[in-house]
Symmetry: C2
Subunit: 322 residues, 2 copies
């Protein structure tokens, strides 16, 4: 059986897996990224886990290529560059390290771009040629598919929709700008909105008992589903802003659909319905009624399907199958 | 010599021309669109002018295809749909009419998309594979080139950057939305800004003597170049808003460059310098220092080069030359 090795590097966990061409997961492992450590320590854990996986595989199922999804990955240089959530410094030559260790072709993409490729090959994007994936997690990541291919742009940095501007005088963003979309429409963003509303509103809410660092997206979603007014308003504000900016994205790309993933998307209809309504209201007339919005149905442990799709894309290209 | 017939339909003038593959203009004619008349009247003038052109051509130079650039053109249906500035009704089957009249393959694109193709084949976009054309005229039109091709999107309506949102409570737009970019960054937009400033400021200005309908972009540019404070402030406000929204476009597309055309771009450095500064200030860190901004150097009478490039693109495709 033909397989690839997929590596998904996150700020908290790193996942590695062996993946077949239909998305079959032949084996996988998860370990703590321990983001505060230097890269050389992480490298040891990564190689140890991969070798563990490969050791249990049939010879016939050994991977033919490796795909990596990582925050702040540059697909042109093969480096991870200035990751704000990993203590690895300016440039980490991850592709070089992995290709030397395993003697296989290695491909890298930033994590949200890899997710978009995963949706295209294995998920809701199958059969679509133009769509946008937004991952609403700690930040807001995005991957754009145009004509059935990942949009890279002139410097392979296309798709940073988390940093379009909502309000020039708005919230401070980790990137140094002010008012970026991800400071509103992400798990961190809705937490900031909850705290604004706690200051502003008078209504009782279970969320008033939780500190900022402890508050989770699940807490807010649960409160909203239970009818908590403050949590509901937080979702409505978040959805209103996200929908407006999705309308701007449509005015650029005219996609068939958006696929929303990441922690915040787990809230389901309490997010989806007002997002759709806000987007639709703000769409330019030529697009009204034409743009679909889905919540990703990828299970959380499917994070390796993105990097797997990246590796498969390159194998197919090289062998001339596509 | 191989040629194409190019038709550029504007709200005021319509231009037709015979164009070679290097952009040589073998002949051209301009006539009043007379936008208030029904389409059948326009059709008579159009056919009369085209036949006049063709009659003077060598047999060897007769065109092989026809390209049309028009406002609100739908390249999938071949119709012009609900043009706000032409009194032609809901759907005008222009491609059908022209192909029946001349028995040649006919291709249509909205005017700004045709401009982008013109820049790609004959203008500043030669040799670039990813760029964005913004035409700052009565409205703000846009055409997006991705990987050397015009970005169409899922419904062939990509590139309506004039309708991204600047301010949800902002100016009313002809499209029915509020706060669209083209209500600020276009000839009409800067006129609105001038009138806001006349109301707000106390300083004398030659622009105070001109009524809204008579005021032109040239008036404002001339006053600004002469040092008029109000006109300068109008350019600075316009450039600040445009630059901010160009930064959002970069966060989607990561283009190599923007090419600014249309009436407002004739103001030169008085527009270009503050636009560049505002865009640069608002760029996400990954893009800083990487994105170029040019003013189109296409002469005004070169409007037919866009539709010509559209026709050439399709001829090249069919013959397998590209």
């Amino acid at each position: 059986m033909n397989t690839v090795l997929a590596i998904d590097i996150g700020g908290t966990y790193t996942k590695v897996g062996i993946v077949g061409e239909q998305g079959e997961i032949l084996g996988s492992k998860v370990f703590d990224t321990k983001a505060k450590r230097p890269f050389t320590d992480f490298q040891k854990d990564l190689l140890y886990n991969i070798n563990g996986l490969l050791g249990r595989l049939d010879k016939a199922a050994q991977p033919q290529a490796i795909g990596i999804g990582a925050p702040n990955a540059n697909s042109l240089t093969g480096n991870i560059e200035n990751p704000p959530n990993l203590n690895w410094g300016k440039e980490t030559p991850i592709v070089d390290v992995i290709s030397k260790a395993f003697g296989l072709p290695v491909f890298i993409a930033n994590d949200a771009n890899a997710s978009a490729l995963g949706e295209l090959k294995f998920g809701l994007g199958k059969g679509m040629r133009n769509f946008v994936v937004l991952t609403l997690g700690t930040g807001l990541g995005s991957g754009i598919i145009v004509n059935g291919r990942l949009l890279l742009g002139a410097h392979a940095q296309a798709g940073e929709i988390g940093h379009v501007n909502v309000d020039p005088m708005g919230r401070y963003c980790n990137c140094g700008l002010q008012g970026c979309l991800e400071t509103y429409a992400s798990v961190t963003g809705i937490k900031r909105t909850v705290f604004e509303l706690i200051a502003e509103m008078r209504e009782a809410s279970p969320l008033r008992r939780i500190g900022f660092e402890d508050l989770t997206g699940e807490d807010i979603a649960k409160a909203a589903i239970d009818g908590d007014l403050l949590a509901r308003r937080a979702f409505d504000i978040t959805a209103d802003i996200l929908g407006r900016k999705m309308a701007d994205t449509v005015a650029h790309l005219d996609p068939e659909a958006f696929i929303l993933g990441g922690g915040l998307s787990k809230a389901g209809d309490i997010l989806l319905k007002p997002v759709k309504a806000s987007m639709e209201k703000n769409l330019f007339v030529a697009y009204k009624g034409k743009i679909k919005v889905y919540l990703s149905d990828a299970p959380r442990n499917a994070a390796i399907l993105g990097p797997a799709a990246l590796a498969w894309e390159h194998i197919s290209e090289t062998s001339g199958l596509e």
